[in-house]
Each structure stands twice: as structure tokens, then as C-alpha cells.
Symmetry: C3
């Protein structure tokens, strides 16, 4: 990883994040999603609004090939049917063979046995990034059994040590979503304070962020930025758009609509002006 661009400061990071969003708008990254049945439509609309090109290819016999040509890949375990589970293994093989960056979103792991076993298996296959709420990251790190004990409203700091250990073990950037998002590659820790509570009142509010991460990781292949920068860029753009959307929303329904409008209207310079980032070493 030594030849990748690593920001030296939070100002540098935010500038790189803005540059990555410009790339997304100029050359829409083909973003391969295998995601859950609840959020497919919203996820595709979020990617289109962000400027990316979504493609949901989740059947055996097509997923490996497509992951090989895509710019980035999302694996979301929300409703893992047997067909999807087999397609996921194919897609990860295709991504690995071609160097396609991929994001693992271990939805609701902990108690539910099938997705939990699959998530642990996938975490060992070197995902580029792992995104979840504190409960899911703790469960994947082996610290807790997951479940409702720690959910998205808890502080992400409770999962900071587990996230860093998980990053070190898997080689992935780990993103813990919450009121303050915590991102780490095992060495560096970023805390991103943008966002809005209404994101938790829209189904797919977190799942779609995983897809945006896959898109920005695709853009980072063009620019040479490292994965932590790409994941931070995705989080910042998405959560700043959420703040814009909240200014006109009258509730969760109009917020989801406005979020798509705000993502489409997001300018790279908005990140520079509005990002709230705190950086530190572990």
C-alpha cells in the first residue's frame, strides 16, 4: 500500500475526498451490488443520484464475471437467500482475481446463524472495507454476540478498539456508523461528525452508504487514493447530503426523497466547506 496517496492532515483528507467526488461525476464508477431485497431500489437510486452507475447482478453464473469488470463491489448480507450466498462467493472470487475493491456489510449478524457464519468467512477473504453499526462490528470482531444490545444509536466509540483490531486482522478499512462515524485502518482513526438522525428512520439509510463506499473505492482506483480516504469521502458526501436534505424534510418520507435530490446537487466544494473530521492515531 506504500504507493497509495495517504492524506497527511484532515485538510488534506477533505481535499482528497472532494477530488474523489469529482471523479465519480466525470467517470461514473460501475458499482456492482449484491444487497438485500428491502433496499435494492433505494440503493440504486442513491448511486444514480451520487453519479455512479449501479448494477445489481446477484445470480450464480453472472456474479463472478461482473465483479471482475466492475469498478467496485458491495456485499450486503441483509436477506441472504441460498442463490445470493452462492453468488456472493462467486463475486468475491471475481473481485479478488481482478483487484476490484469490495465492501462487506454484515447486516444483523450476531445471533442469526447463516449470515453470521458467512460474514466471518467473508471477513477472512480480505474485503477492502467493512461497514456496520457498532453492534455488527463488535460481533464480527468477536467481542459480542451482536443483537440489539448495542445498536445504531449507541456511541461508535464503544466499538473503537474492536474496529481497529478487526481492521488489523482483516486488512480492511472498518467503518462504524453512528451519530459520529468512526473509521479506522488499524493505525489511523477518523471521527466524522456529519449526518442526521433521520438517516436511521429510512430503511437502507446505512445499507446505501455501503454502496456509495464501493463507488468511491472505484473512483480511488483512478486517482490512486488509499481505501481510508475513499471510505471517508463516501461517508462525508453522504452525510453532508443528509444534512442538506434535513433542512427541507417534514419527516422520514420527504427526507428520503430530499436525500436523493441533495446527493445529485452535492458539489465537491461542499465537502471542503462542511466536513467535520477529527483525526488521530490509535
Amino acid at each position: 500500500m506504500s504507493d497509495l496517496l495517504r492524506p497527511e492532515s484532515t485538510t488534506d483528507l477533505v481535499g482528497s475526498a472532494a477530488a474523489l467526488w469529482e471523479v465519480v461525476r466525470e467517470a461514473p464508477p460501475l458499482t456492482h451490488c449484491i444487497t438485500n431485497a428491502v433496499v435494492t431500489g433505494f440503493t440504486a437510486n442513491v448511486l444514480l443520484a451520487a453519479g455512479a452507475a449501479p448494477a445489481m447482478v446477484d445470480i450464480v453464473g453472472e456474479a463472478e464475471l461482473f465483479a471482475g469488470v466492475a469498478s467496485g463491489l458491495l456485499i450486503n448480507l441483509g436477506t441472504p437467500t441460498p442463490e445470493q450466498r452462492a453468488a456472493i462467493l462467486e463475486a468475491v472470487a471475481g473481485a479478488t482475481a481482478s483487484g476490484t475493491p469490495w465492501v462487506l456489510d454484515p447486516v444483523a449478524i450476531g445471533t442469526l446463524p447463516i449470515r453470521t457464519a458467512l460474514a466471518h468467512d467473508l471477513a477472512n477473504q480480505r474485503p477492502t472495507a467493512i461497514r456496520g453499526n457498532a453492534s455488527e462490528i463488535l460481533a464480527l470482531a468477536g467481542v459480542s454476540a451482536g443483537g440489539r444490545g448495542v445498536d445504531a444509536t449507541d456511541s461508535t466509540d464503544a466499538a473503537a478498539d474492536a474496529a481497529a483490531a478487526l481492521a488489523t486482522r482483516t486488512g480492511a478499512v472498518v467503518a462504524v456508523s453512528g451519530p459520529v462515524d468512526l473509521l479506522t485502518d488499524g493505525e489511523r482513526i477518523l471521527r466524522l461528525a456529519n449526518g442526521h438522525e433521520l438517516l436511521t428512520r429510512v430503511t437502507g439509510g446505512g445499507c446505501a452508504l455501503g454502496a456509495v463506499m464501493a463507488a468511491l473505492l472505484g473512483a480511488a482506483r483512478v486517482t490512486g487514493h488509499d481505501a481510508l480516504t475513499a471510505v471517508a469521502a463516501a461517508s462525508l458526501g453522504y452525510t453532508i447530503a443528509a444534512e442538506h436534505a434535513a433542512t427541507t424534510a417534514r419527516g422520514p418520507g420527504s427526507f428520503a426523497v430530499s436525500l436523493l435530490d441533495a446527493l445529485a446537487a452535492l458539489r465537491p466544494e461542499d465537502l471542503v466547506a462542511e466536513a467535520r473530521v477529527e483525526s488521530g492515531a490509535r
Copy 2:
């Protein structure tokens, strides 16, 4: 059922319904949905807006366990793939073993053979509630073959006797959706006159109500209210929110968005002020 709270009057019923909505907001019921592919996203958004915690767990190997820990369960037969059919049987077993209340929504039964046979099987497994339009309830009661002969625009009174007989036979509260919703436990009959025609122009307008019933039945486990009260509370809150949404809607698209906003803004006292309920014995 003698130890459950049974309202003595419609005023009492509406007060109990309002109390149940307060419980939903204070302790979001974990609502397990196995529902059709068309309405998963909208259903989850309706539950989130109402204050509940949705979870779509519809695979074999996870559905039974999850139904055992959930507050309420929805079984909707709109697109019953083989995997979902097996998961449904698992989930109902889990719900039965744990006493989790569950709602059966026999979508489009009558002519279509696979879902019709499954619906009849499930109706014999003591669902807590059954929700459908007049056509579906008549078909499940064995009175007609279903289909388009009687659809959601017909009077629900045409299905009143069949609904009462079905309730008596299965032990379920039966809810017939239409311009006036008819609810019965076989002895009592409630007619709820709130709602709006635009609900029939949004896909999932009825399906999502089934999920709200599962959430309110979960809340009723906390308060000790009976199933008829919980099902009535779900219908009243949902249809009053629909009336609120219709005041600003410019068509079915903006109505669906406003419905989510209105559900999130619904106050328990709105039920007391606006419910239109007529009660009677069979």
C-alpha cells in the same frame, strides 16, 4: 383470553388504541416481516415511521429463531418463492413456540394454487390476525374462489359473515380492508371509517398495514390488551395518518411520501380526536 383487556365501549377502545401507540413509540416492537418483493422497502419504511423496528428475515435457518425473539410477525403471501414458503413454516413454528403474535395476509388467494393452499394451511395454525380485502377473506373462508370478482373497492360488509365465521373457526381476529374496514373476532364487529382512496393507488398500501398490525400486537403484549384492540389500533393509526397525508398530496406519489411523514408525526391523541368507529355484536 379472559385475562386480556377488552374495551367495553368504542370510547374505551379508542383510548386503548392511543395507549398502544404510546407503547410503540416508547419501546419499538421488533417486527419480523416475511413479505412480498414488491413492498419490502415501503413496509420497512412504514414501520420505521410508525416507530417500530422492522426486520425482514425470510431465509430457512434463520426465520424460526428470529420469530421466537420478535415482538410480532407478519406473513404476507404476495410473492411466495420456495425459499420463502419454507421460511414461513419455520417462522410460524417459532412464533407458535414462543407465543409471538402473528398476522397472515393471504394476498391474491383464490385462483392462484400455491399461495391458496399455503394460506389455508396457515389459517389452521392459529394466526393471531388475518388481514385481507373482501375477495381474499371470502376465498379464505371458503365462500368464493377469490379473484377480481370482489375487490378492494367493494363494500367490506359483503364479507362480514364470512369474516366472522373465519374468525370463529381459526381463532384469529379477521380484518377486512376496504373503504370501511371491518374487524371481527367472531363475536364483536367493529367498523372503522377512517382512510383515504389514495391508499389503493400505492403498492403496499394494504400490505404495510398488515405489518403495522404485527407491530401493535407486539405492543399489546406489553400492555395486556386483546388482539382485536391491537388490530383496531393499527388500522386507526394508519388510516388517520393516511387522512393527514391526503391533505397535502398531489397524487399517489406524493401521498406515499406524505404517509410516511404523517405516520412519524402521528400523536396518540390524534386517534382520540379523529377515530370513526362503530361497534356491534355479530
Copy 3:
């Protein structure tokens, strides 16, 4: 086909299109959709807003029977699971046996092997219409391998010859979606210039049009109009509604909502006043 109504002029065509929309509003055509998981909800909402009656019946054991009683059928290959692939073959058999018109939408064919083979197989089973972007039509016609080389933003004229040849070979009306939609039955060519760029920023913007074509083909069974007229009517109504929606949209999110409102508010006379059609022989 000699006894079907064939417009003699573009004025005649637009008048017939308006008449078909009146039929949709007076006798909602039961529109059977087997479509991809990303767009099921949006597609159903588009059909409801247009005045049709959608039904997603995509399981083995029910699809054949339902295609036989439906007014029109859509086969969309966006996420073709094994169960859907088997159900598609059933549905096409049912449609063929009963004379139900059906639309083939060969989403993303070209490189992806499973859907590509299925699309070629289905094209040989006499679909009533085939809808795709230029890339997909070129791939189905055997002219190119599809993929991203020619996508929806390219001129549809690049696919005009391939579309006409495909129409002649399969007997289908072929509709190439793009900034200008190109429709052909192999002899006549129509160019429809209505529409808006925001349609490409909403997932299902094209897929839902295929469903509207199935609905209008169903209406044409009542009026006796030919398939080219029905497909043109669908395109005109949908793209004129898109123009109406764009006048109030603030981005892709609010556009999708407004499109549903505009479809519901669309009057047959709007087609007469606003259609931009150019007609010619091949």
C-alpha cells in the same frame, strides 16, 4: 394482423394513443409483471398511477395460469433468479396459449451469459414487443456484444437498422429507448421526442415503461389497435408525464415522486396536445 387498426398518419396515431389511455382508465388492464428485484415497487406504483392493475406473479406453479388470464405480460430480465427463469418460461407459455400480449425487456444483455441466452431464447417465442436501450437492442439483434459501449445516452438511431431487422425476424414491435425513442415493426419507423433526462437518473425509469407497454397492449385488445400503436401510446403517455414531472422536480428523488403524480393526472388530451412524433417508412 390485417384486421387490426393501423394509423394512417401521425395525427391518427396520436389520436389512437389518446383513446387507448382512456381505455386504461375505464377498464384497468390486469398487468402481469415478472421483473427485477430493484424496480418491483416502482413498477407497480407506475402501473397504479397510470390506471392499470399490476400483479407480480413470478413463481413456478402460478405464472402460467396467471399469464393466461392477464391483459398483458412483462418479462424483464434484470435479476433473473433460477425460480424466475423457470416462471418466465411458464408465463410465456401461458401467454402464448391465451393470446396475451407480452413485452420482453432484455436488461443488460450482451456480456452476462445467463440472461443473454435466455433473451435470445425468448426473442424466438414471438414477443409482442421488445424494449431496451440501444446497447441491448444491438446485442439482441446480434450486431454487438452489448455492454457499456452504447448506452442509453447514445442516439437511438445507431440501432435503427438492427431494430428493424430484429422486428422483422421476431415479429415484435421493437422500441429503442433514448433521448429520442425509436419504435419499429420492421416496416414503419416512429421517432418519439418526448421525455426528460431525469428518467435516466431514476432506477426503473426504463423498466417501468416496459410494464406500461404491457398495460397498453392489454388495452389494445379491447380497442383492436395494432401493437405499434399501443407501444407508441405507452411511450408517449409515460414521457409526456415525465415532462410534466420535471417542471416541479428539484432532483431525481422528487422527480420520481412527481412522475407518479403526473401519470395519475395525465389526460388523454395531453397526448394530442403535446406528442412529438415523426413517422417514416424504413
